[in-house]
Each structure stands twice: as structure tokens, then as C-alpha cells.
């Protein structure tokens, strides 16, 4: 892995240049759009894409439920905002799920959070801490997109050289 993160976006149409894509469905089965991931450095940054921990994306991953909490596009929220730091603390204090990555908009701004579970039900995601500060969608995806990553070690709430939290080293 050359970089600890990929570019990630939620799109109405399937992009043809992403290395991983999947249709995303609402809990009632309605199709909402496509999730896509691009490798950093493989071209220009896709418009509107956000940085995500590379471990969160796996083209061979199992089906998953995703809690996708996205900051409104016009709302600039710093990673150092006390509400964001406190949300990270809540994540560390509660039981971990299979995947959790903040989404990086720019070196100092958070774009949201991607939290996922490979369980057959979305119960683990009901109380996603980031859903308390950003609007979130609960999505179901088939296999081929969501990876698995170890729980954050804690207690750190700072990012390493701009990587998405909780990536844990420089």
C-alpha cells in the first residue's frame, strides 16, 4: 500500500474509472446510487471525492451494511471541531464494528464518516456516533466493496499526516 487512503464517493451513476464500485440500496430495497473508490495517485482526484482509509475498501469484500454520514457539501467542519473530537471519543468508548473511517475533504476538513458491518442485519449501526453530527444514510451493498479493519487502539483522536482517522501511523 503506497498511501493509507483511497478516494471515495457516492454517485448517482456508476463511474467507469473506479477500481471498486457497487450499487447501494436502501433498507427497503430501493436503489439509491453507487459507491465508488479510486486509488490515490492513479489520476486526478475525482471531483467531490473524499479520502477514506484504504482498509475500508476491498474489491473482494463480503456484503455489508453501511452507515454513511456525510457533512453537507457547503458546510466546512474542521477535524479539530470539539464535536468531531468528541464523536471520535464516543467511537473509541463503544464496541467496534467491522469498518470505521472518517472521510477527509481536505487537509483540515472532515467530509463525514463511513461505518460498516458485515453482519446480516444493520443493528450494529443503529447508534453510529457520527450520525449524531451529520445526516446519514443506511445502505446495503453486495460483496465486492467493503473491507475489514482492526478496531482503533485508542485513545488517540488526532490524524497522522492528514490520513483519515483512525489510521494509526505516520
Amino acid at each position: 500500500m503506497t498511501r493509507p487512503w483511497h478516494w471515495f464517493a457516492f454517485r448517482p451513476e456508476r463511474p467507469d474509472d473506479a477500481f471498486a464500485t457497487t450499487p447501494a440500496f436502501r433498507q427497503d430495497g430501493a436503489h439509491l446510487g453507487f459507491l465508488a473508490a479510486w486509488k490515490v495517485g492513479a489520476g486526478r482526484k475525482p471531483v467531490g471525492a473524499l479520502g477514506i482509509d484504504a482498509r475500508a475498501i476491498d474489491p473482494d469484500g463480503a456484503p455489508a451494511w453501511i452507515s454513511l454520514a456525510l457533512a453537507p457539501e457547503r458546510q466546512r467542519v474542521l477535524f479539530d471541531d470539539p464535536a468531531v473530537c468528541q464523536t471520535m471519543r464516543v467511537v473509541l468508548a463503544t464496541s467496534p464494528v467491522d469498518v470505521m473511517s472518517t472521510l477527509v475533504r481536505d487537509p483540515s476538513t472532515i467530509g463525514g464518516a463511513f461505518t460498516a458491518s458485515h453482519d446480516p442485519t444493520p443493528d450494529d449501526l443503529a447508534d453510529d456516533p457520527f450520525a449524531r453530527i451529520f445526516p446519514r444514510r443506511l445502505l446495503r451493498v453486495d460483496g465486492g466493496f467493503v473491507g475489514t479493519m482492526p478496531a482503533p487502539a485508542g485513545p488517540g483522536v488526532q490524524r497522522y499526516a492528514g490520513a483519515p482517522w483512525p489510521w494509526d501511523r505516520f
Binding site: S95, G154, P155, G156, Q158
Partner: protein
């Protein structure tokens, strides 16, 4: 099997134990690239441990922004460690050595307590390569490190591992 207690300058064994959620964690993975406080405690029932934990929970507010790790280890099963961790408000990883295998490898059995057979209360400060900066035997409470002593160790380690500890001139 070695029963030599780890001492200053030694490299810690890279043991693997379940965390408070039951996930298997390796020491080197939890330490990653940071200075680390590795803390062995008797159990939730020990008043000296409770007093020490109150100080560590306060220290956590500094550790969480300082690219530093904390790890606590006991012979309590994961569910007990999880309950204790939640009760004191800790956000770092607790490891469970319920089988006492790592305790035996480290020679850290407190032989005078034949009821609980706990760890000798011990704190190590570690470099990312698991070398020991300091070792504190806390069998007597005043053998345990103060917050100031831990901060001094962490500064020493950080100075050694961060090339830019002195602010870059430009």
C-alpha cells in the same frame, strides 16, 4: 519458557492477546509507530489499581492528542475488562490474559496473591520497536510512575523517534 522479567533496555516480546471486545490483538500492532504506556494491573477489585487508573484516565486527555498509546493488561476475561474500562471512562485498549500464558512468559505473576493470581502491577514505557525506556514495579503503590514520570518518558521516546521534534526552521 523464559520467566525473566522485562527490564529497561530489553525488547518486549510481541505477544498476542484478546482485547476487551474479544478481538485478537498483537502488541506491535497496538503500539504501531508511537510511544506507548504498557500497563499491567491486578484487577478491578484492587484499590491501588483503582487509584492508579484515575490518574491514567486523566492522562488520557493528553495522550489522545500526543500520538501516544496506552494499553492495559490483566488476567480478567474480556467481558470484565470491558465493563471496567467502560466504568472508568477509558478509551484505550484493554487486553485479557485470562489463560495467564503471557503472564508466565513475562514472569509477572504476583506469587503472594494465591487467590487472584494477578499480574504484578507494572508499567513499561515503550519505543515503537518495543524497546523498554523505563520499567516501574508497582507492588508497593509508590513504585508506580507518576503522571510526571510518564510524561518525561514519553518526551524522551518522542525526542528519539520524531525527527521534527524541534520545530523546522522553515
Amino acid at each position: 519458557m523464559s520467566t525473566q522479567r522485562p527490564a529497561t533496555g530489553d525488547r518486549f516480546i510481541d505477544f498476542e492477546l484478546p482485547d476487551h471486545n474479544g478481538n485478537c490483538r498483537r502488541l506491535s500492532e497496538l503500539v504501531a509507530g508511537d510511544a506507548t504506556i504498557l500497563h499491567f494491573y491486578r484487577g478491578f477489585w484492587c484499590p491501588k489499581d483503582q487509584a492508579q487508573f484515575r490518574g491514567l484516565v486523566q492522562l488520557q486527555d493528553q495522550v489522545e492528542v500526543a500520538y501516544t498509546r496506552m494499553i492495559s493488561v490483566s488476567v480478567d476475561p474480556p467481558e470484565v475488562a470491558a465493563a471496567f474500562r467502560a466504568g472508568i471512562g477509558a478509551r484505550w485498549t484493554f487486553l485479557s490474559d485470562a489463560s495467564r500464558e503471557v503472564q508466565a512468559r513475562l514472569g509477572l505473576l504476583e506469587t503472594t496473591d494465591t487467590v487472584h493470581r494477578p499480574y504484578v502491577p507494572t508499567v513499561f514505557t515503550l519505543y515503537p520497536d518495543l524497546r523498554i525506556q523505563s520499567a516501574y514495579n508497582g507492588y508497593w503503590f509508590w513504585g508506580r510512575p507518576t503522571t510526571a514520570e510518564l510524561a518525561a518518558d514519553l518526551r524522551t521516546i518522542t525526542r528519539a523517534i520524531r525527527a521534527d521534534l524541534e520545530v523546522p526552521a522553515r
